[in-house]
Amino acid sequence: MLWYKSWLETRWRFFIGLGLFMLSAGGVIYAYPQVMKLIPRASDLDMSGALGQRIKDAVELSRDYRGYVWGQWTRQNLTQFTTLFAIILGSGGPYSQRSELFTLSLPVSRQRLVGVRSMAGLGELLVIVVVSSLMIPLLSPSVGQSYGVGNALVHALCAFVAGAAFFSLATLLSTSFSDIWRPLLIACSVAAVLWVVEQVARGFSPYSIFTVMNGETYFRSGRLPWVGLLASTGLSAAMLYGAAANIERRDF
């Protein structure tokens, strides 16, 4: 029944997340014909400087449908939304809903409470990421294109595994603060700092968690980012263990 509680507690976050991801995936697909019309005009643009380089990069990617999907959906929307919703789903936790004494009075260990809540949140994140990613192969024929289900699943799993690190960070922070806002803001700040570092120090980019999330190595060379995925999994496990240990010794 702890699963039931976790579901009731987070269902609106889940539905909002699922809706947003699916709308975003659909938007990317149905914008494709318009983008194709704009591509020939891109040569008239000034492509000097860092911004120009990015436009050039986006135009180059968009010349082929798989590149367009990766550039617009996987690298941008999927990565950003997964980061945000991993943090949102990980924040709060079973001890920060002004109902902690009722929860603590139940005949359940604290570790089990944190475990169930974490598994439920990660399960929801996985469903959001996989279902929205499957929208791409499902909707692509409607714009006269095709996209492999395998590709969609691989990118979804990369996004999920690396995104789970942000979920675990938010969960860990939630066991240290009694409100929902501080864990949310701190975890978002950490994500923002990592993103800024990636943008400013381009040499850091291959090691960035966002590069693991968007599966760039898989897109460009067909190789899965194993090291990044394993590192993310280890980091997530360590932070969830920390969260369980934190809650075990905490006084209420």
Partner: protein, 299 residues
Amino acid sequence: MAETTVIETADLRKRYGDTEAVRGLTLQVPGGSIFGFLGRNGAGKTTTIKLLLGMARPSGGDARVFNLPASSGPSSVAIRRRTGFVSEDKDLYDFMTVEEMIRFTAPLYPKWRKDLEERYLRKFELRPSQTVKSLSRGMRTKLALLLALCRGADLLILDEPTSGLDPAMTEEVLQALVVHVASEQMTVFFSSHQIAEVEQIADHVAIIDHGRSVVAGALDDLRERYRRIQLVFDADAPAWTFTSPGVQRIRRKGRVITLISSAGSGHVANEARALHPVSIDVTPLSLKDIFLETVVSED
């Protein structure tokens, strides 16, 4: 109840930073009793309850419930499986409906009483589809009580169960509690600063002040033992140190000495006669008097 003592603490201590909320509390709650845990706000009642339920870890001493150590994780789970609890704030899950709260709680307790659940839903006029968030404080108290009573628990721990309720609702809640306890074999440990309600339903009492127990025992026994003895003299009262057993307080004002004894009046009266007072008046103390004399006078 198989256990003769359901709750037992020995020199129990809890410190939060510089504040010592519980300072060497020693307590015994007999099985089958309705035990009133009286104390002023901030006396350490809620902290003691949290220690008993494993919500906080003691800084020292020992707390046992059903003869299991409350501070050990696995024992604490076993204790909570046999215990119903209502917190002072009646904190429940606002995002659930009444029915969802019941569906969530019931499977966690193997001895959940479906018959009582139906009875209390009717008696408390709780609508299953209503959200917890929309419940008034009184209705929230009733739902919290339903969730505690239906667990088939051996022990009920209630932290200020009538806090914030109007007199009519207080009476309704207390009556439901008394009727329930009369029909089910269980021990009730409830904290309160409302002396009248403790006196109404409790058969055992402990008064806690500044984190320690200052009075404890069966209510009838306390009423039997506690006496106020007033000595009136024809001149200023003599400065005399009473050595009789049970003398708790001595107040000297003009021609009058007032003593509070926790061991009846016999020994004190005998000792007082040697001082040749004009009169000796002995009056029994109510629970309120005992509370005020032991707690308020300490300031």
